[in-house]
């Protein structure tokens, strides 16, 4: 019986790169998927695109492609990724450029677009689920609105023999389900198989989180060699059952326990896992050990896809300013608390409402190493964070913490400050016929 081997080379935008190379070179995979697009990442990407139309895709796209393209080309591995973020076409140009640079003439790179529904949700009077207010009421704070698209665009790109498929926002499991539907010819209303395939995609989409990452708890749940954590691959059969495994010799482990944790990761009602392609049902899923670092998964079900697609609306939501400073030795906590009182008073004098502030005391051994625990706490690190409407006001928070060096309690050490713009995410839903995918294929 035909089996498709599909690996996951990244579970978030900053993920390790070597495990993907290991999968490409030694995983014997047919497909390598990179899931790199968190909810608010696309808002940040859109901001980048507004500054430069040739940007707006994942900042590590080039590094990842240079690392895996040669092995993928040599072994006929098809790459599917949402690293296109706000600019799948610019990302595809970049991959074509890199392919030429690497001498990979003829490499076919597809850009899948259509998830951008900003005009639709602003003009169409759609309301945010969280506030009930229309998206349009956010005015020029709105940066991006992207629908969670399904497998349609990926299927079209595979039908057009693309070697690398770059999407914007698609549902994470769709990155895996697309290739499975393409290979096995599952009908688009074969809800049972689409549900089973979605389970496989869900298990793989966070990469190392099913091979022992986000899992170890020393003495309770030990995992070998996390520094060389292997990323997962699934051997999927035409009936949607699969074996989850990893490259032999890589770090980490694939066990019943790692699979169970990942099945329930970011899940609400396990009987109704909504995706654009199917509502999957995880409640019948079972896992069975199938050798070392091999777990067989079966029992995923599904039912009719929803009529409406989820849309993430990214909007600017002010700034967060932060400052930190440490105090050590006996009476450290009292000096830390005094420092906080001073900063609160200073910010109040500057007219900043105290309700916007959060203060923390952190610390174990950052100042003078281990072994100085005759007083407790031996050290505290003061952290002050505040939300503001402007970057200038946010900077003021860090500045007041830093000024404690010469104006605050004795022995203040190691102040750092930061300012960041907050990208908030709201939710709305659009009828699925408003999301039309479009595929462009370029050749290196």
């Amino acid at each position: 019986m035909k089996t498709i081997r599909i690996g996951c080379g990244a579970g978030y935008s900053g993920d390790r790169i070597e495990p993907a190379v290991e999968l490409a070179e030694r995983g014997d995979v047919d497909y390598l998927v990179f899931e790199c697009l968190a909810e608010r990442t696309i808002g940040l990407a859109q901001l980048a695109r507004l500054r430069d139309p040739e940007s707006g895709f994942d900042p590590l796209l080039g590094d990842r492609m240079r690392a895996v393209l040669p092995a993928c080309r040599e072994r006929g591995v098809t790459i599917v990724t949402n690293m296109g973020a706000a600019s799948p076409r610019a990302a595809a140009h970049e991959v074509v450029r890199i392919a030429r640079e690497l001498g990979l003439a003829g490499l076919r790179v597809a850009a899948v677009t259509g998830d951008d529904v900003l005009d639709e949700v602003v003009a169409g009077g759609y309301a945010l689920v969280e506030s009930g207010e229309p998206v349009a009421s956010l005015g020029d704070r709105v940066v991006a609105a992207n629908a969670y698209a399904g497998i349609a665009g990926i299927l079209e790109a595979l039908g057009r023999k693309a070697d690398v498929i770059i999407t914007g926002r698609v549902a994470d499991p769709a990155l895996f389900l697309g290739p499975l539907v393409h290979e096995f010819g599952w009908a688009l209303d074969d809800w049972e198989r689409l549900g089973a395939g979605t389970v496989v995609g869900h298990l793989l989409e966070c990469a190392g989180q099913i091979t022992g990452g986000y899992f170890a708890d020393p003495g309770r749940k030990d995992v070998p060699d996390l520094a060389r954590l292997g990323f997962p691959l699934a051997e999927v059969a035409a009936d949607g059952t699969a074996v989850i495994t990893k490259v032999p010799g890589s770090g980490g482990r694939v066990t019943l326990a790692t699979c169970k944790e990942q099945l329930l990761y970011e899940i609400h009602d396990p009987a109704s896992y909504f995706t654009p392609d199917v509502v999957a049902d995880f409640t019948g899923v079972t896992f069975e050990a199938d050798g070392v670092d091999r777990v067989r998964v079966r029992g995923g079900h599904g039912r009719t896809a929803p009529d409406r697609l989820k849309v993430s609306v990214c909007y600017r939501d002010g700034f967060i300013g932060e400052g930190q400073i440490s105090y050590g030795g006996s009476n450290a906590e009292a000096r830390g608390r005094l420092a906080i009182d001073i900063v609160r008073a200073r910010l109040a004098m500057a007219g900043m409402p105290v309700a916007e502030l959060r203060t923390d005391l952190i610390g174990v051994n950052s100042l003078h190493g281990d072994g100085r625990n005759d007083v407790s706490p031996y050290e505290v690190r003061v952290r002050v964070a505040g939300r503001t409407g402007t970057a200038d006001a946010a900077r003021r928070i860090g500045a007041e913490v830093e000024a404690l060096y010469t104006n605050g309690p004795a022995g203040g050490a190691g102040a750092v400050t930061s300012v960041r713009e907050v990208m908030a995410v709201g939710t709305t839903f659009v009828p699925r016929d408003r999301v039309r995918c479009h595929v462009v294929v370029e050749e290196a």
């Binding site: 986000y214 899992f215 708890d217 482990r253 066990t255 944790e261 939501d317 964070a385 908030a424």
Partner: protein, 112 residues
Amino acid sequence: MRLADVAHSRAGDKGTIINCSVIAFDPADYDWLVEVVTPEAVRAHMGPLIQGEVVRYLLPAIGAMNFVMSRPPGDSVTRTLGLDAHGKSLSSVLLDLPLPDRPDRRAVERVR
């Protein structure tokens, strides 16, 4: 005994809502865990870290429960000024839930 002695957990987020799985190391403990790790017990244990009701889903096929809860508005991924924007450390809070002794004192066999 604490929950961590007999079960493991992973936290995930969707905006202001978080979920924590509770998975029995030994499936034989599952029915007992369903009895003692109730939504009310979780609600009380999590205290001000969450707000409103705790919803529990059961997955007997894998000896697991899924707890879905809301964080206070100020603690959402977007709004929080705290370090743990995603609530990823909340599974560690849940695992410290004190449990009554098990009816039978089987040695803890961790199924991996």
